[in-house]
């Protein structure tokens, strides 16, 4: 029987509750956003006692369905001031699901300056004071907790960035190799830090496991679904071979690779940081070119990237991080970028927000463009030490922009714009502008249709069709984010007719429900509307659904295009 846990950090109590009937068919983002919207006062201070941090595995998490091992985390974001959901791979989601924990809601905050850990097992949740590991970073936390509790322990943890409540701090999740994945975006690590929880350990021993109402139906649908994933050229070939970093050359070719803090659309040294170069480097050094972030992943888009001496540097080494430090900061050395990624993972700070921030820091003159060693130094000597400069940098791109009076600051709702220039790939601009999360490519990944010809093609340089494209993708994504599925299932779902019905069949087999395609769309719409309502009550209006002004008057080479949507055209997005 699924249950809800409420951990109250003000009085250090734990309550177990039944799942309300209306939450039965919600999971992942659908559940975290519903709970946050229902229970968090929209104008509360995000680091104050009235914010709540909610974890929820997806609806299919814990089942054998491929790609279903994502965990959603939600709260009011200290970065955007709006609602936030950020999902992650790793082992925690499946452990929580098998322990029948539908949601873990963390409320309140201690009045004393003490740190705590939470331990979750089949008997419930205990709150313990933590002293030993305070001040430690993520890799050390994982080592120490595994030493304390065993290798199989699931771990959610924050590094020093979360302890210091930096707005770019993330929550890390132990992966199957005792490395980590992240609830990266929105600053949720700062919320966990504000609750004074250093880590959450999860013991799956004796877990009841997930009940599947119709196992045979589930198995059949699951096979169709997995086949679709493997058959699609993006999820079946490109991602497993080159990882997400396959995109460097593709986006550069399209003239949409933001370079030198969004001043150009192509990077002369793109080859040095490309997925192809990365693949060859990994193979030559004996790393793993394919790797999954959770059990049951068959796409295997991640990798194990080693340094020249064969030492581990990164496993979730993503295109967005590589682009941001590479093209956007003009750093041509993949090893330095990997080293920076390793440090960002360790101190627990979002690698998109932070890497985009470095472009703004370079524009502000804090270090020169191209200064990879400078980036490493700022990470270790400033951010990780919480110096004043470190706190400015740890607040993300908007923070640096405000502190240094920079005008070219690529953020929407104060969250950094990733990896795809909205001037030359216009569909993603609509997603950046309108997403309830602030700029977030995963919220409605128009690149699929604008660039990769997945789900048809919409010319990236023209305005026609972009609003509809982004709307459809954002609705579908909100629903997918509720299933516990990795977003890359969207590629086959857009192109292979059997894929989405198989996903819905799995949901129906799991819950003995009778959802149809329309219900899936309705779920996505409902989630977006719940999130939007929260944001409006938190102080957003349509003026926040805008890209930074510089996109409208600085033409981007090589296409020399500006962002040219009118306010009315953008606001059409919400007509559904």
């Amino acid at each position: 029987m699924d249950k809800i846990y409420r951990v109250n950090m003000t009085d250090l109590t734990v309550k177990q509750e039944d799942v309300p009937a209306e939450w039965a068919l919600l999971g992942g983002r659908g559940l975290t956003s519903t709970i946050v919207a229902a229970e968090v006062p929209p104008t509360c201070h995000p680091l104050g006692p009235n914010n709540k941090l909610v974890f929820a595995p997806g609806l299919l998490t814990g089942t054998p369905a491929a790609q279903s091992g994502r965990l959603s985390a939600g709260a009011k974001s200290p970065l955007t001031g709006g609602i936030n959901e950020s999902n992650s791979g790793g082992t925690a989601a499946q452990l929580l699901a098998r322990l029948c924990i539908k949601a873990l809601i963390i409320e309140g905050q201690p009045k004393e300056d003490k740190w705590f850990n939470l331990h979750v097992n089949k008997d419930g949740i205990t709150i313990q004071e933590e002293t030993e590991l305070v001040g430690q970073n993520n890799f050390a936390i994982i080592d120490a907790v595994e030493t304390r509790l065993g290798k199989k322990t699931g771990i959610l943890t924050i590094g020093i960035a979360g302890e210091l409540r930096m707005a770019a701090a993330d929550i890390s999740v132990k992966d199957p190799d005792s490395k980590l994945r992240s609830h990266g975006r929105g600053g949720l690590g700062a919320v966990m830090g504000s609750k004074k929880i250093k880590f959450i350990s999860i013991d799956g021993e004796g877990a009841p496991g997930v009940t599947i109402a119709a196992p045979d139906k589930f198995k059949a649908a699951s096979r169709v679904f997995a086949k679709a994933l493997l058959d699609h050229p993006v999820s079946g070939q490109a991602l497993p071979t080159y990882g997400t970093n396959v995109l460097v050359n593709i986006i550069n070719e399209a003239g949409g690779l933001p370079t030198r803090n969004f001043s150009y659309g192509q990077f002369a040294s793109h080859d040095k940081i490309s997925g192809e170069t990365m693949h060859d480097t990994i193979v030559a050094r004996g790393g793993k070119p394919k790797h999954g972030c959770h059990a049951g992943c068959i796409i295997q888009c991640s990798q194990v990237y080693l340094d020249q001496d064969g030492k581990y540097l990164s496993s979730g080494f993503e295109y967005e991080t590589i682009w941001a430090l590479g093209a956007n900061c003009c750093i041509e050395n993949l090893d330095i970028i990997a080293k920076a990624d390793n440090i960002m993972d360790d101190i627990g700070i979002d690698s998109i927000e932070t890497a985009v921030m470095f472009g703004v820091a370079m524009e502000a003159g804090i270090i020169p463009f191209g200064d990879g060693e400078g980036v490493l130094r700022l990470l270790t000597d400033e951010i990780a030490k919480g110096t004043p400069l470190g706190r400015i940098l740890g607040g993300g791109a908007g923070s640096v922009g405000r502190a240094y009076g920079v005008i070219r600051v690529p953020v929407v709702k104060n969250q950094s714009i990733p990896a795809y220039d909205p001037r030359s790939i216009k569909g993603i601009g609509i997603t950046y502008a309108t997403s309830t999360m602030g700029a977030d490519h995963t919220a409605g990944y128009s690149i699929a249709t604008n660039i990769l010809n997945v789900g048809g093609n919409v010319d990236p340089l023209k305005k026609e069709g972009q609003v509809e494209l982004s709307r459809n993708l954002q609705i579908a994504t909100a629903a997918i984010d509720s299933t516990g599925m990795c977003i890359f299932v969207a590629f086959p779902a857009l192109d292979i007719p059997e894929c989405l019905p198989a996903l819905i069949d799995m949901l129906n087999a799991r819950f003995d429900s009778s959802l149809a395609g329309d219900d899936f769309v309705a779920l996505g719409k409902q989630i977006l509307k719940v999130e939007r309502k929260f944001n409006i009550e938190a102080g957003f209006n349509s003026a926040h659904d805008r890209l930074p002004e510089f996109f409208t008057y600085e033409p981007l080479p090589p296409h020399n295009v500006v962002w040219d949507f009118s306010d009315e055209e953008i606001d059409e997005f919400w007509n559904f």
Copy 2:
């Protein structure tokens, strides 16, 4: 014939324009807000090329009317992100008015990294490159410009804070003693810095002067008006004797003196920083207890405060600054506070924003509460040097709160709450919440009626009548801010029946107009609505008309009251 000047800093050109008919009866705030709302895109970057900085003397400025020498400055605020008007005494307003300059609109920004000055005289405005005085602070600028151009020169200048585009930077105005007054609030110094204008010099030689349509009527009304100012106990006695700092003991007694970063409502050492103590200290040291910020001031609420060696420290030594560094930072030494005020004047940073910020910095642990020497050190070694810590501090209270994860951050729309705790003086809380400027006591000074029994009495501890009180005051203030009058004319205007009619008579005599009391109210309403519309288009909604959450759950001693207005009650404000 009045005229408008447009200075374009992108192409370094100056244009003179006729005054559009619809602006003829606008001045001061009414004119700056109308121009900003009409010409500045609400979602533009406040430090980018599309923001405009507008200066406008009031409608009566340049006439012999008492108290009429205020200059309004307006722009989109880099501190709040909304519209801003900040008015100041000093000599510039009267010089501009006598040069028949109705408004000076500064547009665009240079592409090159060069600094400029503007010189205004009877023949027009010239733009000159400035190298010598870049990097200098305000007192040095005033000295140097007087040496260059003569003692009579009017000067508008920014210090290092404005050059660095800090969000708390102000614009300073030379006063009659070659010291300075400030357009303090909203960060307009950063806007001037973003336009690369270090100072504006004004030569009134040969100025045509202000034409008064009906001189005899004007003179008669002017006498009635001046008599009312002198007859009222606040403007005629309390303010001239003790300055605005008369309020320390009064507000302490009322339990509304925010102490230790808004944790208590009374300060045990209030006597050490009171107006009475200040007065005696000034007299003992041979300073001036009475002083005016502009020619024609008969209230003389300012003073010349000298240090123990008889050296000048401050002249506009206001209650809000003394409260913020005194009670709110627990600094008991008036000399240290005056020294800090001197440094803030010199580097050109708002003394309300900055002093309130120090309370948050103390709460963040940057320096301890009570550490006056620490405040001086942070001002000179950090803010004035533009170090990373200095940039955090120079961004104001909200900036420090975000960088250090502080929850008790007293700001509305990111602007610091001054000097009067809204939990125990509830009318001012409505003003803080709803003002288009962000927290701003001058926008609707309910203290008059809540505490000083001016304009009747509304119990400060009860909710009844506060919304109406704040609404009436904000409407009247917006209109008064358009006349060039100092806000303290509101005291007699509220109590002495002849006062407001005399003010309106002066307007009619000046412009040959036939305004009635209702027109004055209509003007105030129109200004507030224009400003509110800009703010909504810039991204504000009613969720921004809220006090910080901590006021709702932290009871303030000694009355142990919280901020208890519902959202609906606050939103009633805009029903007019």
